[in-house]
């Protein structure tokens, strides 16, 4: 699934490790999500939504699967 995680992280001057710290996951998980290799669970997506103060649909784009 495509997402804007890398852009949102860069806008806030955060490293992958910083974001991983904030979400209590590993840096590998953040990297895999950014590259679209792994889709996060709904609870993790909600955590991201809360952290970036954006709706989940504004972070993730599921259009290619529809």
């Amino acid at each position: 699934m495509k997402n804007k995680l890398k852009v949102l992280r860069a806008e806030r001057d955060m490293t992958q490790a910083d974001l991983a710290d904030s979400l209590a996951v590993s840096r590998q998980t953040i990297n895999a999500i950014e590259k679209g290799k792994f889709d996060p669970s709904l609870p993790l997506a909600f955590k991201m939504s809360k952290l970036f103060e954006l709706a989940i649909e504004e972070i993730f784009d599921n259009s290619e699967k529809e």
Binding site: D21, A24, N31, A32, F38
Partner: protein
């Protein structure tokens, strides 16, 4: 920070798992070689050694469950995939090996050690492939 606590938690449960695994391995070696080299086939000592080995085995299973419970969702998925592959390879490979023994295709008797080794190796390979896939 949350994740630093999480990393510390993972380190702690990993060390705990390594300790229980080491204890289990040592007790297994004792139970296996003890009757011949340490207590000259004394059944009571053998029963005690087997009971200790089983108890350490239960501890190792508990430590493994604790270890998996603190991993994040991707790490859990990698573990689950690796365990699924190891289980499949173990069942298919183990039964083929057993049938080879029954059909006298192999000259020696089928040993349980072979199955343990097959499961361990396939689990480790699947774990490495999983980690590389999501790197």
């Amino acid at each position: 920070m949350k994740s630093k606590n999480k990393n510390e938690q993972i380190k702690k449960v990993t060390k705990n798992l390594a300790l229980w695994t080491l204890l289990w391995l040592i007790s297994l070696a004792m139970a296996t070689f003890g009757p011949k080299f340490l207590w000259e086939q004394n059944t009571n000592w053998s029963i005690l050694a087997i009971a200790i080995n089983t108890a350490f085995g239960a501890g190792m299973i508990w430590a493994n469950i604790k270890h998996i419970s603190v991993l994040d969702e991707l790490q859990k998925k990698i573990q689950l995939d690796a365990m699924g592959i190891a289980l499949g390879v173990g069942i298919v490979g183990g039964l083929s090996y057993s049938v080879m023994d029954i059909a006298n295709v192999i000259s020696s008797d089928a040993e349980i050690g072979f199955l343990v080794m097959l499961i361990s190796v396939s689990y480790m390979i699947a774990l490495l492939v999983g980690k590389k896939r999501y790197a």
